[in-house]
């Protein structure tokens, strides 16, 4: 096993990676190896991000586009969690539900979120329903699967303990399976958030009239590469923040349970 790194080492190494990336990105357009029109340097993109915070593009400023995207993301994500987690737990507890739902679910799972785009476009046009449906398609399977796995992996003795204490089906799911599955569920939420956020921007390229994805596709039409890249930066940063928040939540839960991190 390799030795564990200290916090400072982690930061330093991470910084080296980012710095190298920025360095190459900077060198390529300034030396003329790549035309700056196709690859604007990091400074140009950073300037563009700053400008976009006040100056609207494609109908809104960058923060407003992010807000549109994020609202859709949260709606689709919460919907997926609110339906997916209970479904996963019910499948994990009742064998019969598992048998009925599993084949259907396994089939649907292989339709990638982006493959829902044409369908969503037919149903919702550029209305708010389209992106939400697509995020839902991305976030739903990990919610179901991880709740299901969590429920299946509960220490059998805890289930026996609950049974001998006269626990009914509903309470078994809400007070035993759900809390026991929390670590698995939160891990699932992280995957769901990642897939949901990625799918969203893809969806916005086609079925939206606001949002980061829409802004990027408009910029592409205007050959405004720095604006396209500003959108990419925004997607990356927001995605990172969402993951960081969920990771913190996960760590807090583990600490409260007295589990190793």
């Amino acid at each position: 096993m390799q030795p564990r790194l200290s916090f400072v080492e982690t930061v330093v190494y991470g910084f080296i990676g980012v710095a190298a990336f920025l360095g190459i990105w900077y060198v390529l357009p300034t030396t003329g190896l790549v035309s700056p029109q196709f690859l604007p340097g990091p400074v140009t993109v950073a300037e563009r991000v700053v400008v976009l915070t006040t100056q609207p593009f494609a109908g809104a400023t960058l923060p407003a586009h992010i807000a549109y995207s994020f609202t859709r993301f949260i709606s689709g994500f919460l919907l997926a969690a609110l339906i997916g987690i209970p479904l996963g737990l019910v499948m994990g507890w009742f064998r019969i539900v598992d048998e009925v739902v599993a084949p259907l679910f396994d089939g649907l799972r292989f339709i990638a979120p982006i493959a829902w785009v044409p369908f969503a476009a037919l149903w919702f046009g550029t209305g708010v329903g389209g992106p939400i449906l697509i995020i839902f398609a991305g976030a739903f399977p990990p919610c179901v699967i991880n709740a299901y796995r969590g429920a299946k992996q509960v220490d059998p003795q805890l289930i026996e303990a609950a049974e001998m204490l006269g626990t009914g089906h509903l309470r078994m799911m809400t007070e035993i399976l759900l809390p026991a599955s929390v670590p698995s569920i939160v891990a699932g939420l992280r995957v769901a958030a990642g897939l949901g956020w990625q799918s969203l921007v893809g969806a916005e390229l086609i079925v939206a009239s606001t949002g980061v994805g829409f802004m990027m596709v408009q910029a592409q039409a205007n050959v405004a590469t720095s604006t396209v890249m500003s959108g990419m930066v925004a997607i990356g940063v927001v995605g990172l923040i969402i993951d960081m928040l969920l990771r913190r939540g996960e760590a807090a839960i583990r600490r409260r349970r007295g589990m190793a991190e």
Partner: protein, 265 residues
């Protein structure tokens, strides 16, 4: 209320003819308010006996009856204390003890009263809001016993409850259990591989044969305990020094050893 009866109970895992025979014709009756310990060589099926009474496992042949009714499923009338405690890690001590009462639909004020009593009985008053992982093994097992006792079950099933504790804690818990049994007598089925523990705690000790397990003999401890007045001794080691105790212990040891030797050859 509170009797357990094994009527020629057998357990086979897998096919009835070719499967793994764990238990073979176990017959044993445990009367109301009686404390019976089952001892036997490892793998003889003593835990399976308890699990059948709890309703965790079905009976393959014969019957297992509690209060003259065949056991079909787990239920709060048969509280179990597990070797590994099996406390809910996301619930506090109080919530763990309260859980079964909530399942019974008992009102909040009544629950608070019962939980407070249970905490006091097991000297856990100052740990009500702690989580299980913050407590020592002995403390956790006290919580598990409180969680079982608070339901006022008709029978109490204890599956090597002190097996996971260190020697000192085990002795304290054994003395505690004897104290509990005096204050609040129960029908108890106690599984152990500790002969001394069985003789110290039980009214009768049932010795099992090697697998497929069956009851080899049942030894009466209560009459000797009463005659020799074991209960007048405060400490477990004083009882264990008594000639009557040593005599019983040795007798059970010999009977068990025959089984172990037979199983090894």
């Amino acid at each position: 209320m509170g009797s357990i009866r094994f009527e020629n109970a057998g357990k086979v895992y897998g096919d009835a003819k070719t499967g793994f025979r764990a238990l073979d014709g176990v017959s044993l009756e445990i009367f109301e308010k009686e404390f019976v310990a089952i001892v036997g060589p490892s793998g003889c099926g003593k835990t399976t006996c308890l699990r059948m009474v709890a309703g965790f496992e079905s009976v393959s042949s014969g019957k297992v009856l509690v209060n003259d009714k065949a056991v079909t499923a787990p239920g709060a009338d048969r509280a179990v204390v597990f070797q590994q405690f099996a406390l809910f890690p996301w619930k506090t001590v109080r919530q763990n003890i309260e859980f079964g009462l909530r399942n019974k639909g008992i009102a909040k004020s009544e629950r608070d009263h019962l939980v407070a009593n249970a905490l006091k009985l097991m000297t856990l008053e100052s740990h009500g809001d702690a989580y299980p992982h913050q407590l020592s093994g002995g403390m956790q097992q006290r919580v598990a016993i409180a969680r079982a006792y608070v339901l006022d079950p008709s029978v109490l099933l204890m599956d090597e409850p002190f097996g996971a504790l260190d020697a000192q804690t085990r002795v304290v818990m054994q003395e505690e259990l004897v104290r509990l049994a005096r204050v609040n007598p129960r029908t108890v089925l106690f599984i152990t591989h500790g002969v001394e523990e069985a003789v110290y705690l039980a009214d009768r000790v049932a010795i099992m044969t090697r697998r497929p397990g069956t009851i080899k003999e049942v030894i009466d401890v209560k009459s000797i305990r009463t005659k020799e007045n074991w209960d007048s001794y405060e400490k477990i080691e004083d009882v264990m020094d008594l000639e009557s105790f040593v005599h019983l212990r040795t007798r059970i040891w010999k009977s068990l050893r025959e089984e172990k030797i037979a199983a090894a050859t």
